[in-house]
Amino acid sequence: MDAHAAQHAVAASSAFSSRPEDLAWFILLLPLIAAAGIAFGVRRSPFLSSTLSISATVTAFILSVALFLAFGLGGYASSPSPFSWIHVGSLNVDLGLAVDRLSVLMLVIVTGVSALVQIYSTAYLHGDPGLSRYFGSISLFTFSMLGIVLADNLVMMFVFWELVGVSSYLLIGFWFEKPSAADAAKKAFLTNRLGDFGFLLGILVVWSATGSVSFTEIGNALGGNPTALGGLASIAGLLIFCGAMGKSAQFPLHVWLPDAMEGPTPVSALIHAATMVAAGVYMLCRSYVLFQAPGAWPAHLWFLGDITALDIIAIIGGFTALLAALIAFQQDDIKRILAYSTLSQLGYMVMAVGCGGPDAAMYHLTTHAGFKALLFLGAGAVIHACHHEQDIWKMGGLWHRLPVTFRTFAIGTAALAGVPILTSGFYSKDAILVAALDGGHPVLFGLGVLVAAFTPFYMLRLVIVAFFGKPRTDAARHAHEAPMAMTWPLIALAIPSIAVAWFGLGDFLSAHFNPHFHAHEGGGLFGPFNHAPLAAVFGTGSLIFGVTAAFGIYWGATTDPLPERLGLLSRAMRNRFYFDEVYEAIFVPMHDMVGRLAAAVDRWVVSGLGIRGAHGSVELAGRALRLLQTGNLQTYTFLFAAGVAVVVFVATK
């Protein structure tokens, strides 16, 4: 055994020593073990499957919290020694875990939300024949997501990135007999793939410039030589961002997320609110070191001048936030409203990263994970209560029939809207606005404020229409509160929607990105108003504006008055600004057309003209040539003589 292998052996043995960060291995592997156990063992029993999956996730959550406490209080970052995944020449990919503030926080979020969602699902999907498959997929998903969180290098991140895509594919397509679900799953996967394509190229660029794929080593390389990426620095950043664009559903790759609502609602809560879509933002933060390098463009892209990759990211994020919010205005499907809201919030986070505030983005990610999961689960409870009715205009008056759901939903809405002081959403949103302001992006700041006004508007539209007024259908009239297994997670999620802000989470994250960070004096609940009053005031103002508008328009309405007032704009909003149509009309037919052309060429030219032609001409030559063999001796003698003449002539020449 050579030294290299020996080193690995040592690494392997040390991986499970008693260091606290080694807990991360258990956290990562528990869901995988559950998934494997379901696939190969208890598949036939839905009860055992769910129990296995839930207990694994809960254990992982408990371990995550322990790890978080260990790190959060200790405040240091470390990675366990790596296993070798593939070592060839200069390509070295190790299976190592990055355990630091960023990842432990995410661990808590992922395992926590996942555990709650799974508990919720036992009731929501009770009796579904595919329950074991569901829990297997969700365990697999949790594992993949934890992998992204813990990956200490780009390739491993890409691996889990793809796995998240796959497991979300399985989950969205859970009801695969439903054509819409099957289509949505496919669409989600492929749209994500488009982003992954860029991500992969980004990895290649970074690897070829720095010689490594490990975050630490890349950081060291860029620390030693900030221009190591040379003219490709900005390109590399944008390519990596492509991955985030896919997962976090940024414009123009946002189209999959609303469709993905075809999956079971708990799935939407888990992957399309709290985890998978957050992966993009997390990844940007994880590889933030790349974006800190001085931007540069290849020579022929000189006209981009001083624009950095971060600027572009911020613009895309901001645009997505606005666009999604506008679309959310006119959606009637309760889950779609939430989906577009998610899009909008993700845009917000991405914008924050682009404005130089990854800590703000992570902060918002954390809070958003809580309340958006809450909202989705609440929506699920509503849908469940209304016999799978999703149109808010067919609900109404649910507030007293579904008391727990209503209350928790209201808390979630408040958090999303960013009600000051009380909710976590306010603080994280404020952090983003501050980041935009501090980053010197007044326009984006304005955009953020605008979105901050839109958010309460469409959320209140949802709450007012669905929960207040009179029931508009029988389903709504006879709605009953969901069972314990569903309400309990709602309550559990409502707590962090309020309480997260009370801990110094923002400072905790800032310290990760900036080692020299010192918490502001005089923090606490009124911190935002003290440090950056402009942002806090604008944020609060926009909230009031949105709330007022919503109440004004929708209180007591039985149909949506907006289409009349907005006209064409409303139609555009309703139809999601026709993005799907445009894509349907351009991308798919384009590939199909090329495919058709290629297939035709293959059939008629390569196989037809080429192969059948060769075959035919050879056969024809054979048939023609044998006509020489007339059977007449005179032909033979003549050819013989002619042959002699030629041969003798050539031979004596």
Binding site: S84, W85, V88, F176, L204, A209, G211, D602
Partner: protein, 504 residues
């Protein structure tokens, strides 16, 4: 198990089947199954006993054969072929399992299958290039007869002849290249180890290399389905019985690549440099063109056949890159794709048998009625579009890494083809075939019973094992790849200017 025993096992099995009278059907079946199982176990043991980190040959065996013509019998494994041997024997075992239901002339079928297995193993194990060719061609007649007698579809006869003639032409052109190598090297041998040592001292002249390499590329490229010499593949696999398609698409197809790795790279380095870009262009033909063609296929087998061709494009790209990363990636893909192709063709065969058609338009929602086969097929399709966890992913990834420095544009295109186009047709297939409501398509049989699952589980397990732990392969491959790669390793980090320039 020594290599010669490993090689002889299938032939001994074939002989045994031959000696058992025709009406003992169960005995034939049993012998074939046991033989391939022993072969597979033997290959696993050899794989396990193989020392990683050593570049040279291991378990070598040598015997004089035709000293008068300069040919010897020489077996041995290094990193390049050890994985292929393992893959071949696993696929052979799976193919035998899948053939459990053969009703027509089972005796002949099993003899042919075992001969085919022996041929494939022999091709990978032989270090004398003559024997490599010999064993590869040995599998030709079994392929022909199996496709003809047990094949399916209207087009069977044409496809059978097409595949046979096409592959023979390719093989012969390749053989011409080998013969030229023999005469131009002056070593008077086709023994790879001797040739390698000889040519290290006296490399071939540029003229000779430029003569030999095109022949090798076109000839052995055809065996792999290098664009535009690919049209035999899809219709051929569509017409072949499952076991034949599995063996051919999985194993025999790789022989061409294997020869290119063994011969073209180390022996014609200068010409390889010269032809690298054209080769990469053709590789794009595989990845993109065949991918697009696959996009339009409505027959499951044609789809799988074209997708298999698209995968081969990655191999050619890695070959064109010709560095240690690329070469390692090529071998990884070869192993992975062998397992995958066998898995998909086996499953597709089962599915076709159950439903009576392979027309995707007539099928749908099968996951509901065939949970195991459908689920396995989903996994196969996902593996086919390069999802991590399956062995294809590390292979393709490695190739992309290897080729990035030399062919950034082609890597971009290949990634597009692999991630996007591959994703589109694979997912479409899942969508149309397995998802959605159940179509009227008559389902006569059911899902695979416990025993019928064995071959698929074996292949899936291997795919997953190498997907999760590619190091177990790459640590064996890399040192040997180092010996045949043109560029030993990319010195990192290279100058950024060069990269930027290359990206233009």
């Amino acid at each position: 198990m020594s290599l010669s025993q490993l090689l002889l096992t299938p032939f001994a099995g074939a002989l045994l089947v031959l000696l058992v009278p025709g009406n003992y059907r169960v005995v034939h079946r049993f012998i074939a199954l046991v033989t391939t199982a022993i072969t597979a176990l033997g290959a696993v043991s050899v794989f396990a006993a193989f020392q990683p980190g050593i570049a040279g040959m291991q378990f070598e065996e040598q015997a004089a054969w035709v000293p008068a013509a300069g040919f010897g019998f020489h077996l041995g494994v290094d990193g390049v072929n050890i994985g292929l041997v393992l893959m071949a024997s696993l696929v052979a075992f799976a193919a035998t399992c899948v053939s459990w239901d053969i009703e027509k002339q089972p005796k002949l079928f099993y003899i042919l299958l075992l001969v085919m297995t022996g041929g494939a193993l022999g091709a990978f194990l032989s270090l004398d290039l003559f024997f490599l060719y010999f064993f590869n061609e040995l599998a030709l007649v079994p392929t022909f007869i199996m496709m003809g007698v047990w094949g399916r579809g209207e087009n069977r006869n044409y496809a059978t002849f097409q595949i046979t003639l096409y592959l023979t032409l390719g093989a012969l052109i390749g053989l011409s290249g080998l013969a030229l190598l023999y005469s131009q090297s002056g070593a008077n041998t086709l023994d790879w180890v001797t040739l390698k040592a000889w040519l290290a001292e006296k490399p071939l002249s540029g003229h000779s290399q430029n003569l030999i390499l095109p022949l090798l590329l076109v000839g052995f490229g055809t065996l792999v389905g290098l664009f535009p010499f690919h049209s035999w593949a899809a219709p051929g696999y569509a017409a072949a019985p499952s076991a034949t398609a599995m063996m051919h698409a999985g194993v025999l197809k790789k022989v061409g690549l294997y020869v290119l790795l063994r011969v073209a790279l180390p022996f014609c380095p200068a010409a390889m440099n010269h032809w690298a870009t054209p080769l990469a262009v053709l590789a794009m033909g595989n990845v993109l063109y065949c991918g697009w063609v696959a996009l339009r296929q409505r027959d499951l087998f044609l789809l799988l056949g074209n997708s298999s061709l698209a995968h081969m494009g990655f191999c050619f790209l890695g070959l064109a890159a010709a560095n240690v990363i690329g070469v390692t990636g090529v071998v990884l893909i070869m192993v992975a794709h062998g397992l995958l192709a066998a898995l998909s063709f086996g499953l597709a065969g089962h599915l076709t048998k159950v439903t009576g058609t392979s027309d995707i338009d007539k099928l749908g929602g099968l996951l509901k009625t065939l949970p195991f086969v459908g689920g396995a097929l989903v996994m196969a399709f996902l593996a086919g579009c390069g999802v991590p966890g399956f062995a294809n992913f590390p292979g393709e990834l490695t190739v992309l890494f290897g080729a990035w420095k030399s062919f950034p544009i082609f890597v971009i295109l290949a990634a597009w083809g692999g991630l996007l186009i591959g994703g589109v047709y694979m997912l479409r297939a899942i969508r149309d075939l397995l998802h959605g409501p159940l179509r009227d398509g008559s389902i006569q049989g059911g899902d695979a019973g416990p025993w019928r699952r064995v071959p698929f589980l074996v292949l899936l397990a291997a795919l997953l094992y190498f997907g999760i732990n590619p190091g177990s392969l790459s640590d064996r491959i890399a040192p040997s790849a180092e010996r045949i790669a043109l560029v030993k390793s990319i010195s990192a980090p290279a100058t950024v200017a060069a990269t930027a320039h290359a990206a233009h």
